[in-house]
């Protein structure tokens, strides 16, 4: 398998600013350790509740982002600021590049062989793609929830939530792990439903519960940003509503980006909506319009947006 290629043009213009290099250092190393220290303190002071630590969420700034799969230009010149403590919905028909763009926000795009990123993507001003930044670290700070709930099939509910912790923190005390698992499950509104069967397999849960388990797993490692790729498309309306409620609660702590094909979901659950489309088939996807969700659904600026949200596809 060919190794990933990350373009050297990434963030080149940003480098001129004094803080960037310094910033990428912190993305590269410090956050990890300080988080664990933070965790330990939380544990020892007995703060095991879901008390939101507001103000931690970070801003993602995408500038002139172009995404490629080999020769195929998938996304063209997207510049978008993703605001902290807000839910940003990415909408647009299949193939318009919104999922590809989402995957570039935590360096998952480059996992596809031949995939390439050009432009700059920063997390609170720190270049995600700078040399020396470990993509694994980026993915720890920017978590992802997928379309199909994907709990680890052989693991218990408890171990599913604790899995990220095991990978990221090495050895930690059982009591501390218990606290993180409980806090995360409470945070994803699943605790009451599973607290008496934490040792049962995660796959034994319903679809909606599995998705909330995956969200618990994602937030257990205290990310700054949560990316969700059609998190409700495999769920029934009741489970969908539970996830949407959860998204509303989580935004007090995280920056959230959600890709959805369900326009009403974007209207209900997001604060900002970004509409992507293709000029014509074969051309790369581009960002047509971004704005307050209310504006996009009552009075969008672009005709293409209007036609799409109104269901006039032509």
């Amino acid at each position: 398998m060919e190794e990933k290629k990350v373009s050297a043009t990434v963030g080149s213009s940003e480098k001129k600013e004094g803080g960037t290099e310094h910033g990428s250092e912190s993305l590269a190393q410090t956050a990890h350790a300080s988080h664990l220290a933070h965790e330990a303190q939380m544990g020892s002071s007995g703060a095991t509740t879901t008390a939101p630590s507001t103000g931690r969420a970070k801003t993602i700034e995408a500038r002139d982002v172009n995404l490629f799969y080999g020769d195929f230009h998938a996304v063209e010149n997207v510049s978008l600021t993703i605001k902290p403590n807000k839910v940003t919905a990415l909408i647009g028909s299949s193939g318009c590049g919104k999922t590809t763009f989402l995957r570039s926000l935590n360096r998952m795009h480059e996992l596809t062989p031949g995939a390439r990123v050009e432009g700059s993507i920063t997390l609170d001003g720190e270049d995600m793609y700078a040399g020396g930044v470990d993509p694994v670290r980026v993915r720890r700070l920017v978590g992802m929830v997928f379309q199909q709930p994907n709990p680890f099939p052989t693991m218990s509910i408890y171990d599913n939530v604790a899995s990220g912790l095991n990978l990221n923190a090495g050895k930690i005390k059982k009591s501390q792990k218990d606290e993180v698992v409980e806090r995360s499950l409470r945070g994803s509104n699943l605790w009451e439903e599973v607290k008496d069967r934490l040792d049962k397999p995660g796959l034994g849960l319903s679809g909606g519960q599995q998705q909330r388990l995956c969200i618990a797993r994602a937030i257990a490692i205290e990310p700054e940003v949560l990316l969700m790729d059609e998190p409700c498309s495999a769920l029934d309306p009741v489970a969908t509503l539970a996830i949407e409620d959860l998204i509303g609660e989580l935004k007090s702590r995280y920056t959230i980006v959600i890709v959805t094909h369900n326009m009403q979901q974007a209207a209900r659950a997001s604060d900002l909506t970004a509409f992507f489309n293709l000029e014509e088939s074969g051309k790369p996807g581009r960002l047509v319009e971004v704005g307050e969700t209310e504006t996009i659904f009552t009075n969008p600026t672009e005709k293409a947006t209007e036609d799409y949200v109104s269901g006039r596809f032509g």
């Binding site: 659904f297 009075n299 969008p300 949200v309 006039r312």
Partner: protein, 228 residues
Amino acid sequence: MPETSARAEYVEELDRLEQSALDGLDLVNAALTRTLEAIEHQDIELAQLVVADDDRIDGRYLEVHQSLITLLATQSPVATDLRLIASLLHVLKNIERMGDQCVNICKVIPLSGNEPPADEEMVKRILTMGRQTRTLISQAKRSFLERDVEQARDLVRQDDVVDNLNRECFYLALAIGDDADRREWAMTMLLTARAIERIADNAVDIGEQVAFVVTGLFREFEDASHPA
């Protein structure tokens, strides 16, 4: 990719409902024309016909209103479609009120009986108000169908004519003298003038809805409580 047929039906249905709602303004114009004729000739039978015929306007209101609610429930309209539906619900109410004002006038016409009018000048002004209001109603309909904000805004200017005539009627009524019958006649005619003036105001309200459909902003063209 062609529009899916179900969605195309929805678009057609919305067009049809807009036309049907706005055609309600033609019903109002017909009612107003008869009302003016009944005033001019003190024709009580014609007045009664207007009262009976108002059921058609009310029926149109209920029918289109229900269909719009169905579209809201089943099609989740957004953006321009949503604004159009919201404004049509509003306009339907305007139309229904305009019809009711014609009925109000027609119910007081018998009061004036077969006596000749006490003041020809007042009748003349009321008939002029009525004709001007018919123009406003037609212009409101046209500006809506054509999504023409300038034409809608012009309704305010047209409405000023009606307002001024209404004021003149007031002073004519004051000057009618002490005779009890003549005063009663003048009072009735003042109510009539007032009702026509309200119909014209409703036409201006429809113009404001035109601006809302086009721009997404709702602003009263003129605010009676905060005159410019």
